[in-house]
Amino acid sequence: MQIVFEKPKALSDTPTHYCPGCTHGIIHRLVAEVLDELDITGETIGIAPVGCAVIHFNYFECDVAQAAHGRAPAVATGLKRVNPDNIVFSYQGDGDLAAIGTNETIHAAARGENITVIFVNNAIYGMTGGQMAPTTLPGQITQTSPYGRDTKTAGFPLRMCELLATLDGTAYAERVAVDSVKNVLKAKKAIKKAFQYQIDGKGFSIVEILSSCPTNWGLEPVKALEWLRQNMIPYYPLGVFKDKEVSR
């Protein structure tokens, strides 16, 4: 008998608590596959955010530190500066990274911290039940914008990759999506590259992953992916916004 398909070793056997059809699960798997392929699980420390991924330490087989809401890049910095041989990655939602933690994110990038940030953007605060986030699309209905985000009072969504690409300390910033098989494969390549850049000591790397929240978007999983494709990708274009190696 030949094994043709396996769960990544970097993922534990624990069933996840994510809602059915939530793409957090896919992203966990991609990160775990990369940890396996680069053979770095043993020396990796992940940072769990505040958000739906708050207990990701149950799922990844690496060490995990839990951060206060938004503080993951600062925690990652402390871990990495003291133990530069460890591979350090934060895994953060858009509320964690692009609302309460925008500051930390920008400064970690500006300092060129040699860490990897996995940024899961689902355009909403998932864990707290679907309120408007800075990343919520114009017109998007949430619990605190029942008639849709009004840009006159709530402003415009933050495009983090574009913003971080302007900083000299950012080595690599790419936006991907997990709405289709093709895009999932691209997402994995980007995640792998981000970890490889850290291994090579190139500086701050971030992969922004457009993700779905079927529960709080009020859509079935497949419809949620369609919504992501039709609404998020036009606002948040996919692609590489900064690559230190290429721009050289």
């Binding site: 609302a99 605060y125 707290t128 039940g129 408007m132 605190t144 914008s145």
Partner: protein, 375 residues
């Protein structure tokens, strides 16, 4: 007067709507979320004429609310646990600035480790920020306390935090009555602050001061917050005349007649304590319930005046003063009663942390353990 059957968070949001708040800024956190969701929907539906600002953190929420208050708006924000801790710097700023802000804090345990359920560590750890802190134990009391909070805040120019227990109260549906807006106006006239940040008024909001200017500000705040206890009771009586609703003054007492043991607590535990008191009375023990409604300013003199000679005060704290025998209520009560030279005894424990269930049977058992020590 409309009868409503809904959660504590909805009672809070309804009071904010009925009071006529101009400006709300908030960041979501469990179990506060439905307060701000409701307010956002009242505004979106045109039922409430206010500006709602979704900000990127609690630190900014309170900063924005403070600024709006300084220009003369009636303001509101709500938070819980980590959110309150993240506001810490601005809590001092708001109290030092003598801004009549009202905030709801839905009590929840604090990190680390994470826990979503109730205890009072969040509010208690903000005791010395210069805020008035009320604790409500039912949905009716939340509704009434929010209205009362504006009345008091605007009279004494000190911000007020209305606390209530996460999930146990915030998410439990109970019947409560609202109040017509014209009656509220009678009790709480339109905001007319003594000073506001406006070119017409001149001046700045906040400044750099040498000690001789700084010191009087600090003393004025501590003296005024001390006096606020009586203001709260006076306004509660005025509110009672208007509505017939009374939740207690500094304390809500339960079966104090001839009592020897006073079971002292705050929050929803204080309501459960009434059942515990009934059970103890059935066992022939002269027990009474004493639920604290005003945590800050702590009613030192009123507590000393309330307890008869030889009374035994059993303190139930839903918080910890690390390294000490009990929690904040025990420490405050001991300090308040230190000068009483009779055979009074004070003993306490901390319990119910992180949402640990506290049915009356547990409270009775703990009370009896403490009574053994008193003997």
């Amino acid at each position: 007067m409309t009868k409503v059957f809904d959660s504590g968070n909805v009672a809070c949001a309804l009071a904010v709507k009925d009071v006529g708040v101009d400006f709300v800024a908030a960041y979501p956190i469990t179990p506060q979320t439905s307060v701000v969701e409701k307010i956002a929907s009242y505004i979106a539906e045109g039922e409430m004429d206010a500006k709602y600002l979704p900000v990127e953190s609690e630190h900014s929420a309170l900063s924005a609310v403070a600024a709006a208050s300084a220009v003369g708006a009636r303001v509101f924000t709500a938070t819980s646990s980590q959110g309150l801790l993240y506001m810490h710097e601005i809590l001092h700023y708001a109290a030092g600035g003598r801004l009549p802000i009202v905030m709801a804090n839905v009590n929840r345990a604090i990190n680390m480790p994470w826990c979503l359920y109730v205890d009072h560590q969040d509010a208690v750890s903000q005791r010395d920020t210069g805020w008035i802190q009320l604790f409500a134990a039912s949905n009716q009391e939340i509704y009434d306390s929010v209205i009362l909070a504006y009345k008091v805040a605007e009279e004494v120019q000190i911000p007020v935090m209305v606390n209530y227990d996460g999930f146990l109260v915030s998410h439990s549906s109970m019947p409560f009555e609202t109040l017509e807006q014209d009656k509220i106006r009678e009790f709480l006239p339109a905001l007319n602050p003594p000073w506001r940040l406006h070119p017409q008024w001149g001046g700045t909001f906040g400044n750099v001061t040498p000690s001789e200017e700084y010191v009087p500000y600090r003393y004025a705040l501590t003296e005024d917050i001390k006096k606020a206890g009586d203001v709260i009771v006076r306004c509660s009586k005025e509110y009672e005349r208007l509505t017939g609703r009374w939740h207690g003054g500094h304390f809500e007492t339960y079966r104090p007649e001839g009592a020897e043991y006073f079971l002292f607590s705050m929050g929803s535990m204080g309501k459960e304590m009434e059942i515990a008191v009934d059970l103890l009375r059935e066992q022939g023990i002269a027990a009474a319930g004493l639920r604290l409604r005003i945590f800050s300013p702590f009613p030192e003199e009123e507590l000393a005046a309330l307890l008869p000679t030889g009374a035994k005060l059993l303190v139930f704290d839903r918080n910890l003063v690390y390294g000490s025998a009990g929690g904040a209520l025990l420490q405050l009560a001991k300090a308040a009663l230190f000068n009483r030279r009779d055979s009074l005894q004070v003993i306490g424990i901390s319990l119910g942390l992180g949402g640990e269930d506290l049915p009356a049977s547990v409270l009775v058992a703990k009370a009896r353990e403490m009574m053994e020590v008193c003997k």
